[in-house]
Amino acid sequence: MKTLLRAPYGIFLLSLLFLLSSCTIELISPYNPPLVSALQSLQNQVNTILITCEHKLGTKAAAYENFEQSYIDTQVVLTDLISSAKAIPHNDITTKQLTLLLDAINHMQSLHQQGFRSKQEIQVLKETINDDFTAIYELQDIKQAYSGGHAA
């Protein structure tokens, strides 16, 4: 099986293999449990706003003013998560996903400011935002399942 290593190119190639064998390639950041945990809490906050509005639709209790602080809190947490995500190498995809989630919450805020008109509208909003969360969890689950469970 073994052949003599004669040519200079062989020495070069072997050196390259030695060099290569000492490294691990990272194309994407590992599973991030603190992010998942923070997102679960954020999702709970967002659903609380939407479900409360769904139940109290048409009353003053569903007015935007009653939820203004909840929106600010949610946006602050998400902005912090985006900053932390940006600091992690090879984490562009998760950073983009979190930025899209922030856009979705800003859209939800704008719709709430205009006033929700029907339960169906809130239902569509709720499904859409929960889908956004699911997409982020799904990628984290794949990282956990297929990257040997290494956590960030």
């Binding site: 194309l27 998760t94 899209l100 889908d131 297929y146």
Partner: protein
């Protein structure tokens, strides 16, 4: 002089890469397919609901536009997940190939490389 079969070593590296890419790609692909299909169906259903609400004047044109933009962003969220999953598989395949070379070199040297 100790001898090395570089061709065999490179072939092992390539074989390991292709095997891992194929096997894990199929596994992750199957996991993702059912999930993404269900999500896309849900998005299509929501687009229909938004159109109906607009026609029934249950929402304003501006609100409908916002909801439509949100659906587009949700599709992008799922595409990012698929792209991330592909990167995980590629990363694992490259590292498996590197580990295969490492094993061959360890055998050749009789010592374990870190």
């Amino acid at each position: 002089m100790n001898t090395v079969n570089l061709d065999a070593m490179l072939q092992t590296m390539l074989d390991t890469f292709v095997t891992t890419l194929t096997e894990q790609g199929a596994e992750v692909g199957a996991d993702l397919r059912s999930h993404v299909e269900a999500e896309l169906k849900a998005i299509v259903a929501r687009l229909q609901v938004i159109s109906k609400m607009l026609l029934a004047k249950q929402i304003t044109a501006s609100a409908a536009q916002t909801l439509l933009n949100m659906q587009k962003d949700t599709v992008v969220e799922h595409l990012l997940t698929v792209s991330g999953a592909a990167q995980v598989v590629l990363q694992n395949s490259l590292n498996a190939a590197i580990n295969a070379v490492k094993d061959s070199l360890n055998t050749l040297l009789g010592v374990a490389l870190a």
